[in-house]
């Protein structure tokens, strides 16, 4: 469970002050398939970064499970991210010099998992995202859609509590978008994996089970379907 209370985020570089988030309160339960939507500059990325421990809130708390991550040090945050949160970014998700298999394995190596466990899980995950025949390809030998599917498999590899995806389909054509969403949706249905993703794409929004709309750093609507 993710519990965001009274979170504000103000960027202040001395010259310009930007209030990116102005008092966000939201609770995301396990097993949700939630889209965060809103116009450009509304604060979607900022919110996802704060939930994911990539950025710290100016005020307020972010409680994940039992942990208030607003109180963690930088190094504790890195460890927390490794063990509790899966990330899928818009681009630059993968390590270019490694194969699909090695990219998926990477987080498990950081977690010191045994080779047997790594092998088994990597094979299973790449199969789940439909890439069992691409395991030895490097990122630049795969399409954008395939790369994003590897990124989803990689995000799952560390057995996170939930997966955050900031505009994961922004660089994909509609077929790849649909395919990626199918995979995410199936993982959500079958494995009860929680997904929180931001998007501009109406077709993606249509697939979400809950849609949180933010504007100007505030929650405008919160709709559960």
């Amino acid at each position: 469970m993710i519990k965001v209370t009274h979170v504000t985020k103000t960027y202040d570089d001395g010259k310009v002050r930007v209030e990116a988030l102005r008092g966000i309160n939201v609770e995301i339960k396990n097993g949700e398939f939630t889209a965060i939507v809103g116009p450009s500059g509304s604060g979607k990325t900022t919110l996802l970064n704060i939930i994911g421990g990539l950025d710290t809130p100016t005020e307020g708390n972010v409680i994940i499970g039992e942990t208030n991550i607003a109180h963690l040090s930088e190094n504790q945050l890195i460890d927390f991210r490794l063990n509790h949160i899966g990330f899928v970014f818009q681009s630059y998700n993968l390590i270019p010099v490694l194969t699909a298999k090695e990219n998926v394995e990477f987080l498990m190596l950081l977690q010191n998992k045994s080779e047997a466990e790594r092998d088994e899980r990597t094979t299973k995950l790449l199969k789940a995202v439909g890439l069992e025949d691409q395991i030895n390809k490097k990122p630049n030998e795969m399409s954008g859609g395939q790369q994003q599917r590897v990124a989803v498999a990689r995000a799952l590899a560390s057995k996170p509590d939930f997966i955050l995806a900031d505009e994961p389909t922004a660089n994909l054509d509609s077929a790849s978008t649909a395919n990626l969403l199918d995979i995410m949706y199936r993982l959500n249905q079958e494995e009860n994996m929680t997904f929180v993703f931001s998007t501009h794409d109406q077709r993606v929004i249509d697939r979400a089970k809950r849609v949180i709309t933010i504007e100007d750093g505030k929650i405008l609507s919160d709709e559960i379907r």
Partner: protein
């Protein structure tokens, strides 16, 4: 895993990696090349000096060195010579009688040291005989006693082979003495200062002229240079009244030259390492800044800073590990090749002669320098990528992911 990624990362920009590898290899090569030529030069100077005039050891009477009087001859001469001739370590000995004298020809005058030598014995100690142009090392002569002077002195005196020359000095009683000699040969060594100051006559001729028996100096050459100091100790304990010096004591400048070389080499190495460091800092910094997004992603998904840091460090270690053997191997080949063939410096022969060098240089490299340079290069490589690696740690993952 980190190590594996680091290794793969260096081949992402092949050209850049090869530039750095080449730079490091050249650095090693350059450093070792300087050291080996410098060592070669200094060894050459030493050998040259030992072979032409210093010898390995010289024995004098202590009083002779103090006062330089004609009758300060070596007083245990017979015992010493017997002892030396028996020793297996000794290759040759040459007793010399030395007299400071004016030398005069129809064409000019100068001051020299007349060295009374036994040509046969002298041949075993110095290569003076080989430096003579006419090949007559005080051996073939008619009525007048023979003398050999240097090319330099010959020019000064306007003398040639067959020119008659007059030498005059005062003996130990204060009586002026004059000897007439005939030039039978002209020599020239690689040390022009030595040339100008020395002339050679037969030992018995000079003994007759001065009415002094014995000699002032015994020059000794051993079979092995490395036994010199130990053999010197041996002689000192045996003949405590003699002054016995090794070539290091006789010509300390040869040793000073080594010290100078050390200093120059150290400076040179520092410069090479600084250049190397600068190159690596630059390249790795570029490699880090270029990969900001990727590094940001790695930190985002949970790769801790220690691992990111070591990944960058490993990248430079690999560059150094590839470059090191390359540089060392190419140096090894070059030093061995030129150590055998020699480097031809004849274009500068004239200048080199005046400082006691020959025109073919044989580089010498002590094995320890390969180790020293390799360690230095690797340390430099590691040290100089610490800054870029720290730069990578400063990356803010949220920021790097945001900037498109």
């Amino acid at each position: 895993m980190i190590v594996k990624i680091a290794f793969k990362n260096i081949w992402r920009n092949k050209l850049r990696s090869w530039v750095v590898i080449t730079a490091i290899a050249l650095g090693i090569f350059g450093g070792l090349a300087v050291i080996s030529t410098a060592t070669g030069l200094s060894k050459m100077r030493q050998n040259n000096a030992i072979r032409t005039y210093v010898s390995h050891l010289q024995l004098h009477d202590s009083a002779y060195l103090k006062y330089g009087r004609l009758d300060d001859t070596i007083n245990q001469q017979a015992d010493i010579i017997t002892y030396l001739e028996k020793s297996k370590k000794v290759k040759g000995i040459s007793p010399r009688l030395k007299v400071e004298s004016f030398i005069q020809s129809a064409g000019g005058t100068s001051g020299v040291i007349l060295n009374g030598i036994d040509p046969e014995k002298e041949r075993q100690v110095t290569d003076l005989a080989e430096q003579c142009i006419a090949g007559n090392f005080l051996e073939r002569y008619k009525q007048k006693p023979p003398i050999i002077i240097s090319q330099k002195l010959a020019t000064k005196l306007n003398a040639r082979v067959k020119t008659t020359i007059q030498c005059s000095f005062t003996n130990n009683m204060g009586v002026p003495i004059t000897g007439i000699f005939k030039v039978v040969d002209i020599f020239s060594t690689s040390n022009s200062m030595y040339d100008e100051l020395n002339a050679f006559v037969r030992l018995e001729d000079l003994q007759n002229l001065t009415s002094i028996q014995g000699s002032h100096e015994i020059a000794v050459v051993l079979h092995e240079e490395k036994e010199v100091e130990q053999f010197r100790e041996e002689l000192i304990s045996k003949f405590p009244n003699q002054h016995i010096a090794s070539w290091r004591g006789i010509a300390p400048d040869l040793g000073y030259a080594d010290k100078m070389m050390d200093l120059v080499m150290t400076l040179f190495l520092i410069i090479i390492m600084l250049a190397l460091a600068f190159g690596i800092v630059n390249t790795m910094l570029m490699a880090v800044l270029e990969r900001k997004k990727e590094l940001g992603m790695l930190i985002s998904v949970g790769m801790n800073k220690r691992k990111v840091f070591w990944m960058i460090i490993w990248e430079s270690i690999f560059l150094a590990l590839i470059a090191g053997p390359l540089g060392i191997f190419s140096t090894y080949l070059a030093v061995n090749f030129f150590g055998r063939v020699g480097i031809d410096l004849s274009f500068a022969a004239q200048g080199l002669r005046s400082i006691g060098l020959e025109s073919t240089l044989f580089p010498i490299l002590d094995d320890k320098y390969y180790v020293i340079i390799s360690i230095l290069v690797i340390i430099t490589a590691i040290l100089s990528c610490i800054y870029p690696a720290l730069k990578a740690l400063k990356l803010n993952p949220a920021e790097t992911l945001r900037t498109a």
